[in-house]
C-alpha cells in the first residue's frame, strides 16, 4: 500500500498572528512553524500502517522552500520520502489540484490530509482532492483500518460517530482520534539524522487556477475586561446573562 500524507506548514498555535502590507498578507516574522496538528495525527496513523502492514509513506506539501524544515520533521518522524510542489499555496482548490497530480503520478492508494489547516481553516483540500481524482472520501475521520483493498473508517458526526465500509483508493480528512495525542511522535536524534539523507523531491507546479483570493485580514475587536461576579452573589450572574448578555 502506498500512502501519501499531505502536510501543511502552519504557525504554531501559540504564535501571535500579525499581518503586513496593509493587512493583506500574513506576517511570518517571529512565527514558529509546525506540522499542522490535524496532519500530524494522520502521519502517525500512516506510520502504524508502515510498521504493521508494510505500507510505504511519503509526505507532500505545496509551498515554497521555507516549508522544507516542516517536511524534514515529517521525515524525522518516519516518512520515507518527501515531495514539495514548488509554488505558493494560494487557495484550497489550487493546492488540491497540485496534490491531485502528485497522487496520480505516484499511484497512491491512500491519501491522508488533515480535516483542515489551523491557519486558513478552509477544510476543503481533502474533499476537493477526492473529487478531482474520483477517490472515496471520508472526512473528520477518527478511526481507520485497512485490510487489502477494503477500508473501515469512522467519522465524527454532530452528536456521535458513524462507521462506514469503503475501499481504496481513499482520501481521508484526518483529525485527532486517528491516533491519540499520546501516540504522537517527537522526532528523536536518530530520526533527525536519517531525515537528512532521505529524499526530498522538488517538483514544479502544474497550471492550477485559484478560485478564491484573500483580500484583507482583520483582527477581532479587542475584548473588554471580564465582569467578575462574587460567588456569594450568583443571582447577579443570572441577571447579567438574562438582561445584559441576553443569552438565557
Amino acid at each position: 500500500m502506498k500512502i501519501l500524507v499531505c502536510i501543511s506548514h502552519v504557525p504554531d498555535t501559540t504564535s501571535k498572528i500579525n499581518f503586513a502590507e496593509g493587512d493583506t498578507k500574513f506576517d511570518p516574522n517571529g512565527v514558529q512553524f509546525v506540522i499542522n496538528p490535524n496532519d500530524e495525527f494522520g502521519l502517525t496513523r500512516a506510520m502504524w500502517f508502515k510498521e504493521k502492514q508494510g505500507a510505504s509513506v511519503d509526505v507532500a506539501n505545496v509551498g515554497g522552500p521555507e516549508t522544507e524544515p516542516t517536511l524534514r520533521k515529517a521525515l524525522a518522524i518516519g516518512a520515507d520520502s518527501a515531495i514539495r510542489v514548488n509554488t505558493a499555496a494560494t487557495d484550497g482548490f489550487a493546492v488540491a489540484k497540485q496534490l491531485a497530480k502528485v497522487v496520480q503520478d505516484g499511484g497512491y492508494d491512500l491519501v491522508i490530509a488533515g480535516r483542515e489547516s489551523i491557519d486558513y481553516n478552509g477544510g476543503m483540500v481533502p474533499g476537493m482532492l477526492a473529487g478531482l481524482i474520483d477517490a472515496n472520501f471520508v472526512n473528520n475521520c477518527i478511526h481507520l483500518e485497512i485490510d487489502g483493498d477494503n477500508a473501515t473508517a469512522s467519522r465524527e458526526i454532530d452528536g456521535g460517530k458513524e462507521t462506514v465500509n469503503t475501499s481504496l483508493p481513499l482520501v481521508i480528512g484526518g483529525q485527532k482520534g486517528l491516533v491519540e495525542e499520546s501516540d504522537l511522535r517527537i522526532p528523536n536524534m536518530r530520526g533527525i539524522m536519517m531525515a537528512r539523507k532521505k529524499p526530498l523531491m522538488i517538483i514544479e507546479p502544474i497550471d492550477a487556477n485559484a478560485e478564491t483570493a484573500s483580500v484583507k485580514f482583520e483582527k477581532p475587536a479587542p475584548k473588554g475586561a471580564v465582569t467578575l461576579v462574587s460567588p456569594d452573589n450568583l443571582d447577579e450572574l443570572v441577571n447579567l446573562l438574562h438582561n445584559e448578555a441576553k443569552v438565557i
Binding site: 498555535t13 498572528i17 496538528p37 495525527f41 484550497g92 482548490f93 488540491a96 491557519d119 486558513y120 477544510g123 476543503m124 474533499g127 476537493m128 478531482l132 472515496n136 472520501f137 471520508v138 472526512n139 473528520n140 477518527i142 473501515t152 465524527e156 458526526i157 454532530d158 452528536g159 456521535g160 460517530k161 458513524e162 462507521t163 462506514v164 465500509n165 469503503t166 475501499s167 483529525q175 482520534g177 491519540e180 495525542e181 478560485e211 478564491t212 483570493a213 483580500v215 484583507k216 485580514f217 482583520e218 483582527k219 477581532p220 475584548k223 471580564v226 465582569t227 467578575l228 461576579v229 460567588p231 450568583l234 450572574l237 443570572v238 446573562l241 438574562h242 448578555a245 443569552v247 438565557i248
Partner: protein, 318 residues
C-alpha cells in the same frame, strides 16, 4: 438564477442550522435581487422554510440517508436546474463533508466559516474566520458559481413572511462505494454542534465522578456538555466531548467553562462563542482574560448554587 440553499433535516425536522442558512440565503437573494430555492432530502412537510425566506423547495426522496458524494451530486444537479450562481450550506459535519465535493462538481470557488452576509456581490466578497478565530479574512470568490459555508450561530435566524412551494426533485444518482455500517449517536442529548449553550468542564473538577453537576447544569439550561483536552485524554469523558483546536469547534451563544484554565489551544476552539463565562478558583487563570463574566470560586460550591438560582429563574420565566 435563484440562490440555492441546502437545508438539513433530521428525522423529518429541520435543524436550527438549516433555518439559519435559509435566513442567510434570503439575505444574499435580496442583495442579488433574486429568489431562494431550498433543497431538502426526505422531508415530509418543508413549509416551515417559507418563514425564513425560502420561495421554492426541491424535495429529494430518491436518495437514502446521508452520503456526501450522492448528496453533493444531487445538490449540484439542483443548482444546474435552478441556474443558481450561489449555493449555501451550513457548518454541520455533513455540510462540511459534502461542500468540497460540491464545489469541484460545480467548478465553484468555496468559502467556509463565513460569518456575515457578503460584503459585496460584485466582486463577490465574504468575511470568514481564519487562524482558528484569531482573525477574519475577507475572501473574494472569483468563479462564476460560488459555494458558501456559513458558520453556525453567526448570522442568526431572520423570519420573513412568505410561503414556499414544494416540489419533488428526482436527480439521477450514481452509486457510492461508501456504505454506513453503524451509527453511534446519543439521541437524548443536545449535540455540541447544534447547541446554543455549552457547559464545559476541565481538570479542576478533579475526577469523572464529579460530572453530575455539569450534566445537571446543562440539563437546566438545555445545553450540551463538553470538556477540555486533558479531561478527554485522561479518559474522564468521551473524546466526542473534547472541544478546542484539535477537538470540536464551539460557536455557541453561551459557553460556560468550569475548572478550565484556558490554554491557548482551548480558547482557539471556543472563541467563536458569543458570551463566555468562567468559573475557576484561580483568579490568574488565563481564561479570565478571554471571558465576559467570571466567578472566582470553588466550582464545587458555585455550580450547585448556580443550578438552584437558574432553576428559580426558569420557574419564574417559564
Amino acid at each position: 438564477m435563484s440562490v440555492l440553499v441546502y437545508t438539513e433535516s433530521e428525522q423529518g425536522k429541520f435543524k436550527k442550522a438549516a433555518l439559519e442558512v435559509a435566513s442567510y440565503a434570503k439575505a444574499v437573494a435580496n442583495q442579488m435581487e433574486t429568489t431562494v430555492t431550498a433543497i431538502t432530502f426526505n422531508t415530509g412537510d418543508a413549509s416551515e422554510l417559507g418563514n425564513y425566506g425560502v420561495d421554492k423547495i426541491l424535495n429529494v426522496s430518491n436518495a437514502d440517508g446521508f452520503n456526501a458524494k450522492i448528496y453533493a451530486d444531487a445538490i449540484k444537479q439542483a443548482a444546474e436546474k435552478e441556474g443558481a450562481k450561489v449555493v449555501i450550506v451550513s457548518s454541520s459535519a455533513d455540510s462540511k463533508y459534502l461542500a468540497p465535493l460540491l464545489a469541484v462538481g460545480l467548478n465553484a470557488g468555496y468559502a467556509s466559516n463565513v460569518v456575515e452576509a457578503p460584503t459585496s456581490t460584485s466582486p463577490f466578497t465574504v468575511k470568514r474566520t481564519a487562524f482558528t478565530n484569531k482573525a477574519f479574512n475577507l475572501t473574494e470568490i472569483t468563479t462564476d458559481v460560488k459555494v458558501i459555508g456559513v458558520s453556525n450561530n453567526a448570522f442568526g435566524l431572520v423570519e420573513s413572511t412568505g410561503s414556499a412551494a414544494a416540489e419533488n426533485f428526482s436527480p439521477t444518482l450514481a452509486a457510492s462505494n461508501i456504505s454506513v455500517a453503524s451509527v453511534d449517536k446519543a439521541t437524548d442529548k443536545v449535540s455540541i454542534a447544534d447547541a446554543e449553550i455549552v457547559v464545559s468542564g476541565g481538570r479542576g473538577l478533579k475526577g469523572p465522578e464529579n460530572w453530575g453537576m455539569i450534566e445537571e447544569l446543562a440539563s437546566v439550561l438545555g445545553a450540551a456538555t463538553a470538556c477540555s483536552k486533558p479531561v478527554s485524554d485522561l479518559g474522564w469523558r468521551p473524546h466526542s466531548e473534547h472541544v478546542g483546536q484539535t477537538g470540536k469547534p464551539v460557536a455557541s451563544n453561551l459557553y460556560i467553562a468550569i475548572g478550565i484554565s484556558g490554554a491557548i489551544q482551548h480558547l482557539a476552539g471556543i472563541n467563536a462563542s458569543k458570551i463566555k463565562v468562567v468559573i475557576n478558583t484561580d483568579a490568574d487563570a488565563p481564561f479570565f482574560k478571554a471571558a465576559d463574566y467570571g466567578v472566582v470560586g470553588d466550582a464545587f460550591e458555585v455550580v450547585p448554587q448556580l443550578i438552584e438560582k437558574l432553576k428559580e429563574f426558569k420557574a419564574q420565566n417559564a
